[in-house]
């Protein structure tokens, strides 16, 4: 855990990618990140801000369209807040808390 980031008012959270999304993020499933605790407009960091932040600061792959379309996660991706569908938690307006686990699952189709 990055305690320095905490002192700066950042939120330590865990972000995980599965179902192939990890390929866009250094081919790494699990990331411990220190998210700025407020967004561009000074409001508390919510999931919409996290998604923008991930695109700008964590994404290494070029295919941004595999992750977001029309300003939000693309169809076929589930967003889980502490293992529950974000639609149970207020969707992209959910305000992040310290140590939250955010999991992005791309649906699979092979069989």
């Amino acid at each position: 855990m990055d305690t320095k980031a905490d002192d700066e008012g950042n939120l330590p959270i865990v972000v995980e990618f599965t179902g192939g999304l990890e390929l866009l993020f250094s081919n790494q499933r699990k990331h411990q990140i220190a998210l700025p605790s407020t967004d561009e407009n000074g409001r508390s960091a919510n999931l919409a801000f996290l998604v923008r932040y991930l695109c700008q600061s964590l994404m290494t792959g070029r295919r941004k369209d595999m992750f977001v379309t029309d300003g939000t996660v693309r169809p076929g991706i589930l967003v889980l807040v502490n293992d529950a569908d974000w639609e149970l938690e207020g969707e992209d307006q959910y305000e992040l808390k310290r140590n939250d686990n955010i999991l992005f699952v791309s649906t699979l189709h092979g069989g």
Binding site: T18, G19, G20, R29, D65, M66, T69, R74, P75, G76, I77, L78, L80, D83, A84, D85, E87, L88, L103, V105, S106, T107, L108, H109, G110, G111
Partner: protein
Amino acid sequence: NWGRSGKLTLQEHTRYGRQLIMPEIGLRGQLRFKNAAALIVGVGGLGCPAATYLAGAGVGTIGLMDGDTIELSNLHRQILHTQKWLGLSKVDSAVEKLMERNSENHYVAHHCNLDQKRAVETMRKYDLILDCTDRPSTRYLVSDAAVLAGKPVVTASALRTEGQLMVLNNPPKSLDNPGGFCYRCVFPKPPPAESVLSCGEGGILGPVVGVMGVLMAMEALKILSPLHPDHGYQDPTKASCDPIPPSLLLYSAYSNPPFRSIKLRGKRKGCPSCSDTATITEESLKSASSDHAAFCASTSP
């Protein structure tokens, strides 16, 4: 539809002895299996193990649907198919192998892929659908048709080192019951075509898809013979036997822990397939009208 039976033969008592003595199954459960019909859509990496264990358990009628033939690159994971069947029908191969293992069951061969014109009609003859297909369009079609036919669906998928499993339309939507959530409740919009990887492109490890296929068989058996305290059996999970929350099981072979159960929102208000304002009907499915056509137009592999 396929005939019913009220008792087991001596042979069957011996064959299924290890299940019969379990309170979760018992004679009641075994007879339910015997009189049940399950349709396996797709006889590949998921369908082969799922069919194998359903046949072993004595599910009396097993429909097998696939229009494909067997290729060498299938054999590492499609465990019913063998070298001498290369180039031949997956369904015929599967029926032969299942007959060798358990000739007590009836196997129904559907030498085709799921067709939107006949999907609902075909599903009506079965009690349960296993979605073992491998493309998004077919997953929407299986779910839509099963909701219309009033049948629960066990759906799973796998790619590379990961698998996913859900139980849909359980209990089925009917006049008395709003029914469980459907595939469209979870994924209202289909993914952009370019974001979808097939097993051919992404790769797949045999045991990964194998685990998901066997888990599908287990979920199918649970649906075909549900636990009923009032049938003289005390539910071992009584304390937690509130309706099982809508969930998605994730398997990731190289992660620790390897399994994760995700809580889903469940039924979606205004779902075009399963809500009380549903717009997808048997007619619209057949005529491929509305936006449904976009994902279901191509159901050939």
